[in-house]
């Protein structure tokens, strides 16, 4: 990035301006967008160097983790968040679920011609605030513009890198029969908050997305019982049910859940009831599920409950031997059922 003298060009008209093809053409307009919007929001030493990439030092002896996540949420703004903070939290969480300490983020924006600059500014500032709060800066990025009709306003793809502290081994492959499943809090808020803003579904709700960066919660859990946390995963799209099925498949085990123990806010339960949806399959953006060694459970659970993002943490079931890798659940009603993979998109029932 070179520095363009501001005096010679008119500043971006954030209030009324819209993205046009010039903002993606690599010329002065693109430079201006980067400097006045992205750099202003994300400002840090790495970005200010103005190179196409960012060089950073590698910690000695530790394993590195890299994760990438694309964000295409609709609507872009929803109760409790927006695509901007979501793109930061989501990627930090993907890095953290490997037991890693997230260090840096890279962000790629695909903007649609005609997108209002004011909305873009709001998104970028929310993203920057989320990155600052998490202590994980965005150190490099890219912007492209596509013609109107070829995008959905804004697509943000974020990449995160982090380091795994020595001695930590967290993976979806590590669950063993006898392990205890812990959940950091209530499920379904993000999915229901987003759904509540979709066309023709404006039900009166106070449900806000739970979007949050979970890396400090993860650090507290790992510290509480070194070696005791075997699996970490954030149940995003597909919800808790799909995440547990993924872990069961990776580890070659079964799971048995207790419906009674899974925390769900009454508002989320009611909204799901109304729409014929199951909270187990609804997306979360600020929750994690862990498989812990039985002897580590009390310490990990205590550490979770002492953290603001784990105050509602609960023991929801256990890992069992099962060559068929079924996730089953003892229902509150006294029966037992399979908690299956989500098939396609969860669609509301007709009546």
């Amino acid at each position: 990035m070179s520095i363009v003298k501001k005096d010679y060009i008119r500043p971006l008209d954030i209030k009324n301006g819209r993205i046009d093809m010039g903002h993606g053409a690599g010329g002065r307009a693109a430079m201006q967008l980067i400097e006045e919007l992205f750099l202003a929001a994300f400002d840090n030493d790495y970005l200010r160097q103005g190179d196409d990439g960012a060089a950073f030092a590698i910690p000695q002896g530790e394993r590195m983790v890299m994760a990438v996540d694309g964000h295409v949420v609709s609507p872009l703004f929803f109760p409790g968040g927006d695509v901007g903070c979501l793109s930061v939290h989501g990627t930090i969480n993907d890095v953290a679920m490997s037991g890693a300490r997230p260090l840096y983020l890279a962000a790629s924006f695909i903007l649609e011609e005609g997108f209002p600059l004011a909305d873009l500014k709001r998104i970028v500032e929310s993203m920057a605030a989320a990155a600052r709060e998490a202590g994980v800066p965005v150190i490099t990025g890219d912007t492209k513009v596509v013609e109107q009709g070829k995008g959905d306003g804004v697509f943000i793809s974020t990449t995160g890198v982090g380091v795994v502290p020595v001695g930590v081994d967290v993976s979806g492959r590590n669950a063993r029969p006898g392990d205890v499943l812990l959940l950091s809090g209530t499920i379904g808020e993000h999915g229901v908050a987003v759904l509540s803003q979709r066309e023709s579904l404006e039900f009166e709700t106070t449900i806000r997305s739970d979007t949050a960066a979970l890396h400090t919660l993860v650090a507290a859990m790992l510290q509480a019982a070194p070696g005791g946390v075997r699996v970490l995963r954030d149940p995003t799209r597909g919800g808790l049910a799909t995440t547990l099925n993924e872990i069961a498949r990776q580890s070659g085990v079964g799971m048995l859940l207790q419906e009674d123990a899974i925390p769900v806010l009454p508002q989320v339960d009611a909204a799901c009831e109304l729409l014929g949806l199951d909270p187990l399959y609804i997306a979360n953006e600020g929750k994690l599920v862990a498989a812990c060694a039985p002897e580590a459970v009390e310490a990990v659970l205590a550490a979770m409950r002492a953290h603001p993002l784990g105050a509602q943490a609960a023991r929801i079931g256990s890992v069992v031997e099962d060559p068929h890798r079924f996730v089953q659940m003892d229902t509150r009603f006294g029966g037992r059922r399979v908690v299956d993979w989500l098939s396609g998109e969860q669609l509301p029932r007709i009546c």
Binding site: S200, L256, G335, R337, S343
Partner: protein, 380 residues
């Protein structure tokens, strides 16, 4: 949730289960058909069958509106979107029902059809208002529960003189389907499907009341207990049916008194009869042509009838030969009797309609109950 959790209380369920164990006669078996997909879903999701005595068998009936929708009808909706350029609006779980040529509404959407999921007929109407330059068709499916909202949409469109809105009407009627099953050779002549009684529909009965079922109880000597969709409702209904059978009674009883009365919602019935009239015959998936079992839009509202407006000709399409949906919908076979269940036909790739909606007998068994088919270790 107040008014919901009370009907999912495991302690009460155990008490009813115990009562059932005491009252069923060990020397006979009991088969009850739950007509509604909502009941099928509840039975599977909460594991109700496990709480019933071994000699009480639940037969899944054809009451899932998505499951009984014939291929030819979905083809019409797809044609409207792909060939006529209409915006086609429909309820969520209709989107995945398999149609001809490997298509479904979801797949037709991926091919460029403007197909939108809506939560009510009123939403489709709103889309029509917002897109005056486009033809908007509401693909209306469902039993008596979803019919009044469709009628309301047509009435409002008529009042507003909305020129770009129409309805592809596929609404079907519960009592005709029950009659069809009771008249079927399997039930009447062959006795291959013993049906000792019916768990009557919940939401449907809110609209039509309990009166229309009295005919079955009297004419066919089959008890009917109308029940809500909560698992305790179903268990209580089964207990009431067992008692009727034991006492040799065949009556219509109402377990769902908190929402259903004898007459139903007269305003809704009047609205429906203003807008719709009976079709002499209608094809159901799995049941074939069933006389006087569906509704069509009255000539006075012809402008809102997509079949007339687009001069659509109905072409029946046969189901996949390996698929047993027809027999499953009539209660003749169980999902696991079908050779392609769980192998070729899965929720990800449904061949038959019963695998599509979570209310379908096959999808419900696949998603919630298939662990019972396989001996597994589930030590806690």
């Amino acid at each position: 949730m107040k008014y919901i959790d009370e009907f999912r209380d495991g302690g009460v369920a155990q008490k009813i289960a115990e009562r059932l164990r005491q009252e069923v006669r060990p020397n006979r078996s009991y088969s009850f058909m739950e007509f509604c997909g909502g009941h099928t879903h509840a039975i599977s999701r909460y594991g109700v069958s496990e709480l019933l005595p071994a000699n009480v068998r639940m037969v899944h009936g054809p009451g899932c509106p998505v499951c009984v929708l014939p291929i030819g009808r979905i083809d019409l909706a797809i044609k409207l979107a792909l060939e006529r350029g209409a915006i086609v609006c429909t309820y969520g779980d209709t989107m995945r029902v398999p149609a001809s040529d490997g298509l479904s509404l979801v797949r037709a959407k991926a091919r460029g059809g403007d197909i939108r999921m809506v939560y009510s007929a009123a939403d489709a109407l709103q889309i029509a208002r917002q897109n005056p330059q486009r033809e908007v068709v509401f693909f209306a499916i469902g039993f008596e529960t979803t019919t009044p909202p469709t009628a309301l949409a047509i009435r409002d469109a008529h009042k507003e003189g909305l020129a770009n809105f129409s309805v592809l009407c596929c609404h079907v009627l519960t009592p005709s389907a029950i009659t069809h099953i009771l008249e079927s050779p399997e039930v009447r002549q062959f006795g291959t499907v013993p049906i000792d009684g019916f768990v009557g529909p919940a939401h449907v009965s809110i609209v039509i009341g309990s009166g229309p079922y009295e005919h079955f109880a009297q004419e066919y000597r089959k008890p009917v207990v109308i029940a809500g969709f909560e698992p305790l409702d179903v268990m209580q209904a089964v207990l009431m049916l067992v008692r009727q059978v034991n006492e040799g009674r065949a009556e219509v009883e109402n377990e769902f008194t908190r929402a259903v009365n004898r007459d139903g919602n007269l305003n809704a019935q009047a609205l429906v009869s203003d807008i719709f009239e009976l079709r002499p015959s209608f094809e159901w998936r799995g049941l074939g042509e069933v006389p006087y079992s569906a509704l069509k839009i009255r000539p006075g509202f012809a402008a809102f009838d997509a079949e007339r407006r687009f001069q659509l000709g109905y072409q029946p399409v046969a189901d996949n030969k390996a698929c047993e949906c027809g027999a499953i919908l009539r209660g003749v076979k169980k999902p696991t009797d079908c050779k392609i269940f769980g192998t070729v036909c899965t929720p990800e790739n449904p061949v038959g309609s019963c695998m599509v909606s979570s209310e379908g007998a096959c999808a419900a068994h696949y998603s919630y109950g298939r662990f019972k088919d396989i001996a597994i270790v589930a030590a806690a």
